[in-house]
Symmetry: none
Subunit: 213 residues, 4 copies
DNA sequence: TATGAATGAGGATTCATTCAT
DNA sequence: TATGAATGAATCCTCATTCAT
C-alpha cells in the first residue's frame, strides 16, 4: 500500500512541477520558432495549461526565456566542468569525453540554446551578458584548462592558447546551429558522429607534440 | 568636361542606385538588431528616404531581407569559388587564401548574414532553403573540392570527406557569430587573426599526409 | 474565569466578524487606490485571509464595493439625522455640531467615500443611484430641514432654500476630496479646522437675519 | 476666388487639427466614463479615426490624458487670472465675474476635469502633482489675491485668509462634480444659477465689513 | 469554511503595409 | 516617383472569478 498523500501534498507536487513543465514546453517552441515568434499562448497549450497560468510562475516572457536558458545550460556546463576537472584523465581523453557528451545532447532540444542566444542577444542585452559571463566564459576557461594540461603533460605541442581556444568548440557549435536552423529546411545532412570523429582525429593530430626523433 | 546629364537622366541614375542604398542600410540595421527588431521606418531613415519609398522597390519586408542576403552573399561566394578553382594552387594555399579573405570580410557587416540566417530560418523557410541550396551547398562543394584535391595531390592524408567538410568553416562561423551577438555584450574578446592562424596551423597539420619514413 | 468557548463557537464568532473585517480592509485600499486599481488579492491580504474567501461573503467585487459604501455611510448619516432632529437646538448650533462631527470623521478613511462615488459613478450606475437616493437625498433633506428651521425661528433671513442647500456641505466635500486625492501628491495643505471655523463664521453671518434696528 | 491651397498644405492642416480633435473626443469620453474605463478604440471612433492614429500623436494613453487636462484647464485658468488681475475692479465684482465665467463653462465637458483628477490622482501621481502645482496652486493664489484686495480696500472684514481660501470655490466644485457623477444617475437636480447666486449673496454678506455705526 | 491554483476575457501598444496627395 | 498619414491585425499581460481539494 503506497503511503497516503494528503490533498495538499498532491497539489503542492503539481505546483512544484509546473515551472519545469512550462520551461520544457517553452524550450521546444523557442527552439523551433525563436523567441519573438513564439506566442505564450502556444507555450501554454504545449504545456497543457492556460495562458494566465504561465504568469503565476514567470512575471514576463523574458523571465521565462531566462529560465529556459538557465535550466538548459547550467546542468550541462557543470557536468562538463566536473568531467574536465579529473586530473587523472589525459587531455585527449577529456576532449573525447566532452565530444561524446555533446553528441548525446544533440538529440535533445538543449542545443537550440546557442541559436536562441545568437538570435536574441541584440534584443536582450542582460541575457547576453549573463550567457557570456556565466556560460561562455566558464566554458572557455574549461577548454583552456584542458589544453594547458595537455601541453604541460607533453601531449600537445605548445600552441597559442588564445588562438586555439575556439577551435575545439567550433564544430559543435556549427552542428548545433545547423540542426536548429538550416538543417530543418534542406536535405543537406551532416552525420554528427562522423564530423565529431573526424574533428577529434584532425584536431588531436594537429595539436600533437612532435614525435621524438 | 563630362557630358552634361539632363535632370531626367540624373533622376534615372538615382533610381537605379536606390535599391542598393536601401539594401545597404537594411544590412547594417539587420546586423545590429536582427530582422524582427528592425523597423522599416528606421531602414528608410538610414537610407535617407521615406518609409513608403521602400515599397516602390521591395514588395514586403521579407523581400528586402532576401535582397540583403543575396547581395551580401553571392559576390563573395563567387569570388571564393573563383579563388578555389585555380588548379595551380595547392590545397593548403587555397585554404590560406580563403581564410585571408574571410578576415577581410570580418570588418564589414557582411558577416552578420549567418547570424540573420540562423535567427530567422524558422520564420522564413523559403529564405532558409534559398540559403541552404544556393550558399551552403555551394560553399560545401567548394571546400569538398579543395580537400579532395589536397588528398589527390598527396598534401593531405585520406580523411573522411563528409566528416571533414565542416571543420574548415566552423571557426569562421564562430568568429562571425561572436562578433555580431555575444561579442557586443561582453569584454571577452577573440583575436580573429590569431584564431585563424592557429586554426590553419592545427588543421593543416592534422590533415597532413604522413611524412615519408 | 471566562466561560469556555468550544472551537465550534469560536469559529462561528470568527465567521460573523469576517464580512466586517473584509469591508474594513477594502475601505482602506479603495480609499488609497480607488476601486479599479484595488486588487481583491490585496484586500484579502489586508484582511488576513485568502482571495477565495472573499467570495464566500461577497459574490462580486462590486457587491463588496456596495457593502463598503453602505457600512461607511449609513451609521454616520443616521447619527447626523438624529443630531439634526433635536427641536431644542438652534439651527446655528446644529450646523456647528455637524461640522464638528465631520472634523472627527476626517481622520478616518470614511471620508474617502465621496471620492469613490465621484470616481466610479459612471461605471456603477446602480451604486450611484443608491448613493444619490439613500445618502445624498437624505443628507440634503436634513440640511434643508435645519435651514428651514433657522428661517422659521428667525435665526436666518429667508434665502432661496434650493440655492442654499449645497452651500453648507460644499467645503466639507472639498476638504474630503482634497485629502484623498491631490492632498496626497502636493505640499499644499489645508488646515481643516481653520477652514471649517471660517466657513461657519462666514456662512452664519451671511445667513443671519438682519439685526433689528 | 479663394486662394489655392496646395495638397501639401491641405494635408498639413489636417495633421495640425488631429491632436485637437483627438483630445476633444477623449475629453468627452473620459468625462463620461473615467480614464480607466475609456478604451482608446472608442476615443478613436469618436474622433472618426482608427486606433493606431492616436499613437501618431500621443505616445501613450496617459499622455493623451495629460494633454486633455492641459488643454481643458490652462486656457481657462489664464482667462481667470487675467480677469482677477484688473486692479480697478472691486473684489466683489471680481468674484461675481469668476462665478459668471464658471456658469458658462458648466455647459461644456471642461468641468469634468476635476472629477477626472479626483478619480485618477492615485493612479497618476505625476499628473496629480502637475495639477496641484499648476492649477490648484495658481487658482488658490488668485483667490487669495482677490480676498486680500477686498480686505485692503475695506470691502471685506479681515478674515483668516487660509481658512477662507476654499470657501469661494467649494460650491463650484460641488456643482461640477455633481454634474459629471451623481447628477447623471438621479433625478435630484441643482439649479446652478440659483446655487451660484445664493452662494455669492451669502458669501459676500458673510465677508462684508461691518457697517459703520 | 477556507484555500490558492487555474482560467480567459479584455485592452494597450506596435509596426508592416496602404494610399491619397 | 516620393511622401508620410492612416490603418488594423497581432500579442503581451492583468485580474476578477471559479473550483478542486
Amino acid at each position: 500500500m503506497p503511503p497516503a498523500i494528503s490533498p495538499t501534498r498532491r497539489r503542492a507536487r503539481r505546483k512544484d512541477a509546473r515551472p519545469g513543465e512550462i520551461v520544457e514546453a517553452a524550450l521546444g517552441l523557442f527552439a523551433e520558432r525563436g523567441f519573438a515568434a513564439t506566442k505564450l499562448e502556444d507555450v501554454a497549450a504545449a504545456a497543457g495549461i492556460s495562458k494566465g497560468t504561465i504568469y503565476l510562475y514567470f512575471p514576463t516572457k523574458e523571465h521565462l526565456f531566462r529560465a529556459v536558458v538557465r535550466l538548459a545550460v547550467l546542468p550541462n556546463l557543470e557536468a562538463a566542468m566536473a568531467l574536465a576537472a579529473d586530473p587523472e584523465r589525459s587531455a585527449a581523453d577529456t576532449l573525447r569525453l566532452l565530444a561524446e557528451r555533446f553528441l548525446e545532447l544533440l538529440d535533445s532540444d538543449l542545443t537550440a540554446i546557442p541559436k536562441l542566444i545568437v538570435a536574441e542577444a541584440g534584443n536582450f542585452p542582460a541575457l547576453a551578458q549573463f550567457y557570456a559571463d556565466e556560460v561562455a566564459r566558464k566554458g572557455m576557461a574549461l577548454i583552456r584548462g584542458v589544453l594547458a594540461r595537455g601541453i604541460a603533460r607533453g601531449e600537445f605541442r605548445p600552441v597559442d592558447l588564445d588562438g586555439a581556444l575556439p577551435l575545439f568548440s567550433a564544430p559543435f557549435l556549427l552542428l548545433a546551429l545547423w540542426k536548429h536552423s538550416l538543417g530543418r529546411h534542406t536535405d543537406i545532412e551532416f552525420n554528427p558522429r562522423a564530423v565529431v570523429a573526424t574533428h577529434l582525429d584532425v584536431l588531436l593530430r594537429g595539436l600533437a607534440a612532435e614525435a621524438p626523433p
